[in-house]
Structure formats: C-alpha cells, structure tokens
Symmetry: D2
Subunit: 316 residues, 4 copies
C-alpha cells in the first residue's frame, strides 16, 4: 500500500511504495489551524498563536519540511486540490483492486471483480449449495474466464464497411487456437469454450496424482497443436504439479510457452509461483486468487474437490 505523508527515518521510508508530500503555504497552514482550534475546539486565538510559534512552527521546520525532499509527489494547496486527490484516490483503488501477485507476475491476470462475480464465488464455495446451482454458477464464472482469456490472443488490424456505409477500424482476432482440458475437472470448461469458439478443437490429458508424483496416463491432442494457441483448462490451480506436467507435455509437442493461456477458476499462490516462475511466458487467467494451501494441499478457502462436486461423484 501507499505510504502517506510524514516520515522521519530512512527505515520507514524504504518500506513505502510512494511518498507524498502535501504542501501548503505557511500562512494558509496557520489560518487553517486558527480556524480549527477556535471554532471547533473553542480555544482563544492568543493561545493558538502562542502554541504555533513555540511548538508547531519549529516542529514543522525540523521534522516535516526536511522530509519534502524525499517525496515522490508533491501536492500543493492541500485538501482543496481536488485534481490531485482524485488522482491519488484512483491510483490507490486500482492497486487495491489488483492482487499483489499480479504486480509480481505480469502474465497473471485476474478477471475484473464485480459484486456479481463475488456473489457467484460466494455461492459455489458454499458447502450448502445444490448440485444444480453449483454447476450453474461455475459455468457462468468459467464463461467469464474463457472470454477474458480469449482477450489475450493476438490480432491483426482490420477495417470493415458497416451497413451505414461507414468504415469501422477494428481487429481480426486469431482463430488458430485449440483447447486442452485436464481430465476430469478441466472438462467442465469445455462447454464455455465451445460456446465462444464454434467447432474449436479440444485435446485432453489425463494425469494421475498420487502423493507428490504425477503421471501422465492418457493424452489425445490435435495433431497440428504446435501451430496453435492453446487454452489449457483446469479449474483449480493448487500445488501446480499437474499443471506443470500438462504444460511440459504441450511444450514437448512443440507449443511455444508464449502461446499457452492457462485458464483457472481459482488459483493458489503456491501454484501461481510454481507455474509462473517455471514458465514465465505462459499467461495465467483466473477468476480469483486464493489464500493458500492447507496441510492436505487443498486450496483454502477453495471450493473443495471441484471435479467431484461438478460431476456428482462426491458423497452428496
């Protein structure tokens, strides 16, 4: 978060991302103080002036003013400067709305969060939800992840003539792509992909997870996959072990890292670190970043064993 205003010691300063000095002319400062202390606090003017001369001004000169030289931004006119305040507020909002990991890994993208997406997450994470609603809201969120992921495909410029005879300067998005789902839970994302990309090719990978070992036991991929952009689908990114195995397989098949977009519904920081460090050029698109993994390597808060809940092979 942003460091705001006064600071005296280098140690504190170094922890700050942005140092702002809110400047104001001395007479403005004094008159504001007088107004505040007499009107709001009921003191008399003389004692205020006396206190100002004796303590406030020397303290300002000794401690506040010297810090100005370290400021990254100086905001003149203090609280009346709406333009600057608006700038800072917007900046803080953007930073707050973005997960820290997105600042670390430029290829990690969270879909824009709205109260609707938050509400859908609240529903699918709830143990009490009906199977039908779990599928319904998962499908809606997955659709948003897929649409967002498709936004990172390359494009070329293209102009078209509209029915009014005008020129529209637009783009032609890349259609040389395919999906690859990690069996079973990744298959829950195929529908949304098909709904957005008619007739898209979809490969499948089955990886056995036993202990810390993962083993590829089945794969069926488009033959020309090395010439395509690949949307790799797995709703939950946990430790990143099976994701890595899937990505490695794709690379082995000739798909350049930079052409892989990995689509998740929820992602644990552990898995993000693992995947984004190993494969710095792949893009990861997710709808929410989780707190972490628990002792059993389950994503927390998470949404349980996604495949079992989606396909109904859990106990419920």
């Amino acid at each position: 978060m942003e460091g705001i205003l006064v600071f005296h010691e280098q140690r504190v300063r170094d922890l700050m991302n942005m140092k702002i000095f809110v400047d104001a002319d001395p007479d403005v400062r004094l008159s504001r103080r007088i107004r505040r202390d007499t009107v709001e606090r009921g003191r008399d003017v003389h004692s205020v002036l006396e206190q100002y001369a004796k303590f406030v001004k020397p303290a300002f000169d000794d401690f506040i003013l010297p810090s100005k030289k370290y400021a990254d931004i100086i905001i003149p006119r203090g609280g009346d400067n709406c333009v600057a305040i608006d700038l800072i507020v917007q900046h803080i909002r953007t930073k707050l709305g973005q997960h820290n990991l997105c600042k670390i890994y430029p290829n990690l993208h969270e879909i824009p969060s709205t109260f609707q997406t938050r509400g859908m997450h609240t529903l699918i994470r709830d143990t009490e939800i009906s199977k039908h609603d779990f599928i319904f809201y998962s499908d809606r969120l997955i659709r948003l992840v897929v649409e967002h992921g498709l936004g990172y495909l390359p494009f070329t410029e293209k102009q078209v003539i509209t029915p009014t005879g005008s020129i529209y300067i637009g783009v032609d998005f890349c259609k040389k792509l395919c999906g690859v789902s990690v069996i079973r839970s990744g298959e829950s994302m195929e529908n949304a992909l098909r709904a957005c990309c008619k007739g898209i090719k979809i490969g499948k990978i089955l990886i056995h997870r036993g202990g810390d070992e993962t083993q590829l036991i089945y794969e069926k991929l488009p033959k020309d996959i090395s010439e395509r952009h690949v949307l790799l689908m797995d709703p939950v990114l946990g430790t990143g072990n099976s994701a890595s195995q899937a990505i490695e397989l794709l690379i082995k098949k000739g798909v350049p890292e930079s052409r892989i977009i990995f689509l998740n519904l929820v992602s644990a920081p552990e898995g993000i670190h693992y995947v984004c460090k190993r494969f710095p050029h792949i893009k990861v698109v997710t709808s929410e970043i989780e707190e972490g993994l628990n002792d059993q390597f389950c994503v927390v808060p998470g949404l349980g064993e996604f495949g079992d809940r989606y396909f109904g092979t859990d106990d419920s």
Copy 2:
C-alpha cells in the same frame, strides 16, 4: 487529455484537466544542461554557462517558476522519479482507455475492451457477415453486457463455509430484479439475461417510432415491477427518444430512476447525452460508444438496423 508542464496564460490553463509541475533543484537543472549541451551537442562549457546566466535562468524565474503555484501536482527530481512517472503514465492510460463521455457521466459504463470484444464488434459491423455469425457474435457481446450490467446491482455481505472448512467472506447479490425488453431488437437480449438469471421475469414494451414522435403501443410488465431492479434492454441507443419513453414508463410504474440499468450493445453520444442528462440516476451499460448519428439519425459507424439483421427481416 492531460495538460503537461509549462503554461503561461490563464486561458490555456483553464483548458487543462491536470496541471503538473516537474520540479528540480537549480543545481541539478544546470548540471543536466551542461551535460546535454557539451556531450550531446558538442558545445563548450563556458558558452553554456554564459547562455544559462543570460537567458535560461532569467526566463525560468520569469516564466516557468511563477506557473508552479497553479500546478495540481508537483513532481520533484524530474526524470529520475520513476514512482511519479509511473503514477502519471498509469493515470493517462486509464483515461485514454475510457471514453470521454464516461468521464462526464459517472453512471455511463463501457464494458472492458479486449481484442476479442473489438474483434467481435468488427465482425458484427461488417455488412458481409453471414446471418448466423451476426447472431452468434451479437449474442456473445450481449452476454458480456448483461454480465457487466449485473455487476452494478446492490449486494449485502455474506459469509459461507467452504468444503475445506474455511470461511469465505463474500457477498449476496440482489435477486429482486427483472428484465424489460424494447420490442423487437431488445428481445435479442432476453436469452443472455435468462442464461445468467434463471427464471427471471421479463416485461416487454412496444414503441412506434414515426418521424420525431414515438408512441407506446403495447406494454406487459411484471406487476410488482416497482419493487424490482430493472434491466432495460435495447441493443442500439440512437437519438434516445424511444429509450426516454421506455424509461418514463418505468418511472411512471413506480420504478425509481436509480434502480434502472439500461443495457446497450452500441450507444451514440447523442442518445447518451439525452438519456444521461434527463435521467442522471439511471446506469447505462454499453459495449461500445459510437461516433454519432448521421442525417437519417442512424448510428455511425453502427451496425445497421439491428432488429432487421438479427431477426432476418432485412433484404439479405
């Protein structure tokens, strides 16, 4: 766009959205000038110093420095201040990415633009597109408009227990809502709304547009509409005449302006001004803001008579 740096006259100043003064200590300024003029321009130090004393410093004191007091933001240390530069760059980017009208009307919202949404717009605006593709890509864009629009519904906080036993602090979005489509073209948006909100109530309004007159000739609305948030659907906002008539009807039925979300696929600035000024509390959500209207009051570049293209009642 932002006004950057130096300004001398009030008239120019008043045209600027944000005034930035890039500050630097006099010695830093001088040493930078010496380095530049000797190294880059091959001049000797003495002539540089002479020119500085004779012209540059007086000009600075007379013209540059006095402008500082009008600045909204002061950036110390000039070009080395990466933090401030980054702040300003990001701010400009945000502003550039946002349509001017969105800055004027805080209730006007454009869905986030990606190359995929741009590409879909390019397709549906093209006169050459097949009917099937026109419907397919319109439907995809409309779905994104609907999802985005639902994000502006109110909510309450809600905590749930996830299958891992963790608490998830989420939200419960408002379910007291309904759709209202303006016959015919608005009906093309019903599907996407139903796909997101199972069993949602959907009212219909038929307005006859003849010349500048519009006339309501049919309406069928949910009886309890005054207790609901209303997603008003019409893919094209042109002059705003029929939109206004539809909104007025809703208000007459007891729906507060602030509970109306007007969903468009494309919106002309003329219609936006008309609607947003008359009904400052309604929200307008659109996927793209157009250039304007032509002589025949058609949206330009536009996508033609949407209803005719979607339902196939044009000549094609």
Copy 3:
C-alpha cells in the same frame, strides 16, 4: 375403437370401423366346445353333443355365418393364428395411441408421447411449480415440438461419402424456411427454433385479443416470406381466432397454406377444428391435445396464461 366379431343388424355394423370374422372349420369348433364343456365345466359328452346339434349349430348357421359376408377381414384357424392376432393387436394399439382428432385431420400431428413427455407436461401444468422449472420444462417440450415439426419439411435425396469410404443414401432437408412467432407467448418458442436452425429468420406478429374480436396491431416479417416454409409459433391453441388471423396474414403475404407448419405446445379441440377446417392444407404439430375450452374460453386442463407464466407477468 374397433368393432370385434359378430353383428346382426346393419345399424350396429355401420358404427364399426373394422369388422373381423374369426373363422374355424366346423369340426374344430365342435371339438373345442367338447373339450371346454367336459374338462372345464364338468359336463358329459352326450349332453354337449345334443346341445350342439339342437341349438349351437342352427344358431351359427342362422346368425353367425351370414355375418361373414360383411367382414372386412377373415381370420382363419381362430385363436391359434398368432400372426393375425398380432396384426390386430398392433393395429388397435396404434389407434389407441393416437388422438381421435389425428384420425379426422391427417395434417394434425401429436409428438410421440413417452413417460418423459407426460412427466414434463405434469410439471408445467402444476400451479405449484417454480418459475424456473416452468420455463425449463416448457423449453424442453417446445424443443421436441420444433424438432418434430421440422420433420414435415420437404427434402430431396442426397448421397454422401462417409469417412470409411462408404456411400450413405440420405436426404437433404429444405433450408428455405423461417419462423413467425405470435407475440408474446409465441416468442418463447424462438429459442428452440434457433437452437435447431442456425441463423433462421424470425418474423413477429402482434394480435390484440379483445372479446371475440382480434386485431392485428404489429407485424414484421421476412421480405421473402412467400418463398419460404413458415413455422408459425404459438404455444397454446385455444379458440383458434388469433391463430386464424395469423394464418390469414401469412396467406395474404403469399405463403401457400401447404407451406405453413403451426407449432403448439397444447391445443384445444375447438381450435383444432376451427383451424384445420378453415385451412385444410396447413400442418398442425402439438405436444398434447386438451379436453376443451371452459366458459372463459380457457384451455382445460391447460396450463394457464402461458405468456404470463413464462415471462413472469402474472401475480406470482
């Protein structure tokens, strides 16, 4: 139902759809009688033979045998003739499974009834059903009506080569078609039509029903409708008044009667008579034929005001 076996008087005969004479040689008849009366009824042979000669044979010759000449079908060997019995049983089953009106109007078609379609009807007719389920099961049934209706479109023969290199002798179905929905409730059928026929043109008609008068207040039809097969959509056929008005409009636009397929979810006999008599060449496809209309001209048992339930503009 079928008239079975013996008949003596013309009046009774005329009521019969099919007259069957089950034939058997006289000696076979006698031996069966002896076996039955001695073994099953414990009588002695002599009394049986005496009764046979005195009453049974003369009665047969006087009353049974003469009826043979009126028979449509003669089944030799009586109860041992499994082939004939099977033929008759299947025929009765077919007739029983078919609504009487379908026998009267060869252009009236009910979709095949299964326990699943019956179950869906049971759900949507129930006043207690949730709005969401009402829409869900109506949609499923409508989809079946649409698929069945499409089966009556013309076709031409077409041969294709399959991936195994074999020839498949198939058909090419007519694609020169469009839908026309009667606003509002007919619009509920547009989705299913679009789901089956990508990019299909869809016209709309709005008819005001006031008292016994109906009035066309809006229409928007494909310009080349006279060259197309038309799937006219209205989920409930009641009195047939507005259906007739819609059909007349189509005919006026140049659509030959024989190219109109009228799709219903439920149809009242009154409306069927009205429509099928006036327009003997149109096809009517429905998922269930109702009992009739009540005093308020509502379909009974029916499913209420379909449009209000589907679009949620009823009180619930």
Copy 4:
C-alpha cells in the same frame, strides 16, 4: 417383408412372415376378368369365357384355392375392401419403418426417423462437412437420443391441479438417475444429458482398446450408483467389446442390468447382437442402425472415428 398371396410349396410358405389370401366370390372374379379383358385388352367375350372355363377356373381350383387353408388372414371382397387394405398397408409401413433387429430384440429402440433426422445423419456422415457443423448436427441428434432414452425410465402416477383449477392426470418420472460416459467420445453426449436433467451426476470410464483386448484404465463413478438408473453414453456401438466392458463394470458396481439404458448415435448389428445377447435386460437406444463392420472393425457406412471428428484430433 410380407409374403403376399399365392404360394404352392411348403418351402416358400415357411419363408413368409404373414400369408394373406385375397378372397372374392367366383362370379365377382369372372365379371372382373371379363371387364378387364374386353375393355382393357380388346378381346371378345366368348374367347374370354372359353379361356376361363378351360384354364383359369381349373387352375384356381387346383392351385389357388387349396392355398387358402394356409392363410393367416383372409381378405374378402378383394380390391374394394379399403378397410383391410388400409390395415395391411399400415402394418407393412410400420414393419418397414422398424429395423429387423428391433423385432428380434425387444429392448433395442431406434428413435423415430423423420426427414429431419435423416438429413442430419446425411450431414454428419459426410466427409466434407465443416467441423462446426459436424458438432452442431451431432449435438442435435444426440439430444433426440437422450430425450428418447429418458422416455424409458420408470414413473409413477401423479395428479396435479392446473391454473384453470382442473385436474391433470399425469406422471412423475424417475429422478434417481445418473449418466456414465465412456471417455472420449461418450463425453460428447454429456451436454445433451445435462441440458435435459439439471445437475445430473455423471460418471466416467476410460477403456483402452488395443487389438481385441480392452482394458479399463480409469473410472470415476457416483458412489451411490447402485441405487440409480444409469444412462451409459457412447455414440458408436461397433464390435461391442468396450460397451460390454463398461456394462460389466456397472453390473459389478451393483447396478442391475434392467436399470441400464445404453445410448448410441449409430450402432452396428454386430455390436447389437453382442450386447443384447449378453445383457438381455439392458435397453439400447440408438438413432440409426448401421450396415455392419468392415475389415478394420469400423462401422459402415458409419461416420468415422467419432471422438476424433468431434474433438478435432483428426488430421483435418
């Protein structure tokens, strides 16, 4: 097909499914002959009568009449008997419309064939079809297979009150069911199943087919599968080897044979025999029965490697 009319030798008779004797009184026969031979063939009456007495009557008495006693059905009055002719025509139509195998295996069901279903089959079997259309029409046909299959689930009677206050005597269909798809191609049927049964549990089985050996390499089934009706999904029934392995697994898990409904898009007779003989109580629902298997055990005419075409992992 049906054997019609005259037969002299037992060998021929035994090949016939139904033996029909078209009867007519001798005088009627003679008068028809005279009319035909004089009017149509221009002969004189006397030669006709002479020929009749000399050849036709003796031949009838010697060869035609004696065959009457073998007839299963006797149709009096010959060509004027519309009732009988209609009965026979309908019967032949039904038999022709039904595949022979459906007569052998009462649990084998083909969905009703229309020109629309034939047309869709023609499209998906064509090697020239686009990937998008292959998926689209496969999906439509699969939906019809699923709807038809659901029609064989058990039910109980249920009465509901309709919005008109009437009683509707309907049924409550069984909801204790689940799907099981055979990976990969069976997964193409999951969507249609979900579209009909909201939130249905779906298990998966992966079987490796190598030579004549099949091996189960992955399975994930609902835990309570033994209490459910199971819709087993595999679009192509070829040799029946992997189908048998899947069915055996289900039986081993405690699912009674009679609760399994096996859904296919196309089925080879070889596989039908294999499966229906081994598991006489399971129901097989298919949209078309094929000619057979070729040397490479591929279904002919068939539609190629379904999974490869649907998921795009073929060469195209």
